[in-house]
Symmetry: C2
Subunit: 339 residues, 2 copies
DNA sequence: TTGTACGCGTTATCAA
DNA sequence: TTGATAACGCGTACAA
């Protein structure tokens, strides 16, 4: 087992200093004399030294690893989220070990074991497969994003407010019947707030509301048949009334819009639509779709920040068991489907 | 510096066996007696032992880390690619350390140093900022994907063939004037092949061809003005001729389609469009867009496989300097814009 | 300011 | 089949 790498030992031999001095050169340069520093600096270049952070980790006990388990990068929301999370590496110096959950419980549990065996300092859990009770027992800091979070700290969008904003926008258009299309969410899911928010504002405004809650997938082919059925139902049932439709995500909203356009060749004035997420498709659609924007950069920032704080506290030995659920404001983006 | 973790030492004390035996229990169970195995197995559970792979790495010299530097996850192609790359972790046991390049040379060089200091065994380079000559001098295996690759092994889509397929599809529609809209690519970029392929088939078919090559960004707002100008030019210049337009990616193709639809309220028969990538938008558009599909799962699979092979060879001490450029076939997906 | 000696948790070598 | 001991590369009391 020949190891080609240059180590402190070689540098020590080469320069005549001890390993300790070299270590100090890296970790506390001021404790080393100017002269020594110059000599070492030169030697490092000459020998082409590369630091070995893994050895450092073993000695110090702290990696700068953060584990990330994310459901599916093909969904724009998660890709965007990971983008922003990874961008935080420059600020905190964290290295992100990323796994994709894909809803596979066994795999995700394996990933977590893997991550623990690499001494990740914290876990950013975006996947929703593993219950938060299990996550809470991991003995490393965990922050969840937009998922069930009863037993861990979390960051979520203000879904409730999002639901209200959507209802308000549709009501402002003069819609007479309010419709919400969403998956059959469980109340523990943060996104459930969208349903409640929408429902509540409709009630307050005394507007009739109907909810279509059954899960449609993420892909166009899966969504289409479901939306087609819903469309046919709505069309027949609310023939002469102004319909305000709040769809739980922009991809599905776009499918609905397409069905409407294919049917009428235009967007009739009695169909109003609001999507959710403000993903690119809402802008890229022939008729740009109004949507509720989540502040993904801020969600990511807050999540990493909270994780960093928890990691810091854990280092200090504090056993802070209080949970904090961070709610990030959302914003209504008005486009042509609510004009 | 209290370390709470259970180590081989504790297990040794607890069971009366030596650290060596315990190590063997993990790495070569057959070399340990049945009885011992059972005792250890029980002890491990009782003490709730978690393996420390970092220590293992230090002793064995091999991490299972692969570094990934990817340009921008917000572009669907890269998100999809990373999806498939991460999926390979189950097969190879690799852990992926992911950084986002964002075209920042200095940052990317820092990421590479970071990765090297964590002893990644290989690098998957998708970002195109750092020239392949620099990558070749890294002394770890490197595979690039869809970028300049003169000095390293790589995996690319068959861009040339893609260009030809697009031209053929448009010619088959009876187009009289062939138009290609693309960024102002450099010949070293694999995507340059699209231009050549398209140009060549047009020449072979003796069809007049015009190329609009100036970079338009990735975002809708950036693309729109550029496409609008191009549209106006084409419309005026080729008024009564059947136009076949090959756009370098689906996002831009969709923008063009939207402009056409906004102008004519329908897709006139003398406008035919083919995009590239077969990204979701090509399917999600009101009028589904024909496109050239890249086999992203295969690209990722081959890339990781090639990297694994190179890593294996390096372990055996082979200094294989031969370069291999793996070209993955593409496929024409006919949709409504070429009917 | 610099060096000695030991520890971090695992694997490898050699011996029993 | 098992164990003692020395690595792996670096950090850190403690001493000089």
């Amino acid at each position: 087992m020949k190891r080609d790498k240059v180590t402190f030992n070689e540098i020590a031999h080469y320069t005549g200093f001890s390993k300790t001095t070299i270590s100090r050169y890296f970790n506390d340069p001021d404790s080393v004399s100017e002269k020594t520093r110059e000599q070492l600096s030169a030697a490092l270049k000459k020998l082409n030294y590369r630091e070995n952070k893994l050895a450092r980790v073993l000695a110090k006990g702290k990696t700068e690893f953060i584990g990330v388990i994310i459901p599916d990068l093909q969904m724009h929301y998660y890709a965007r989220l990971l983008t922003e999370i990874l961008a935080m590496s420059d600020l905190y110096g964290y290295k992100f070990l990323v796994f994709q959950g894909r809803g596979n419980l066994e795999a995700e549990e394996r990933y977590i074991r893997e991550l623990l065996s690499y001494s990740v300092e914290g876990l950013l859990m975006v996947s929703h497969t593993i219950p938060s009770a299990s996550l809470a027992s991991l003995d490393i800091p965990v922050i969840t994003i937009e998922r069930e979070d009863r037993h861990v700290s979390s960051v979520n969008a203000d879904n409730y407010c999002g639901g209200r904003l959507a209802a308000k926008a549709l009501a402002d258009c003069g819609c007479e019947i309010m419709i919400h299309i969403n998956a059959d969410l469980k109340p523990v899911s943060p996104a459930y707030g969208r349903i409640i928010g929408f429902r509540n504002l409709c009630a307050e405004l005394k507007l009739p509301e109907e909810e279509f809650l059954h899960s449609f997938g993420n892909k166009y082919e899966e969504i289409y048949p479901v939306m087609k059925t819903v469309f046919d139902t709505i069309r027949k049932k609310y023939k002469d009334r102004k319909k305000g439709i709040f769809v739980s995500n922009d991809t599905a909203a776009n499918v609905l819009l397409n069905i409407i356009l294919q049917t009428y060749r235009t967007l009739p004035d009695d169909w109003k639509i609001v999507g959710f997420d403000d993903s690119p498709i809402s802008q890229e659609a022939v008729i740009p779709i109004s949507s509720i924007r989540q502040d993904i950069p801020r969600i990511a920032t807050e999540a990493v920040k909270m994780l960093a704080d928890q990691i810091e506290e854990k280092k200090k030995g504090k056993h802070d068991t209080s949970l904090y659920h961070n709610i990030i404001p959302v914003e209504y983006i008005g486009r042509r489907t609510t004009q």
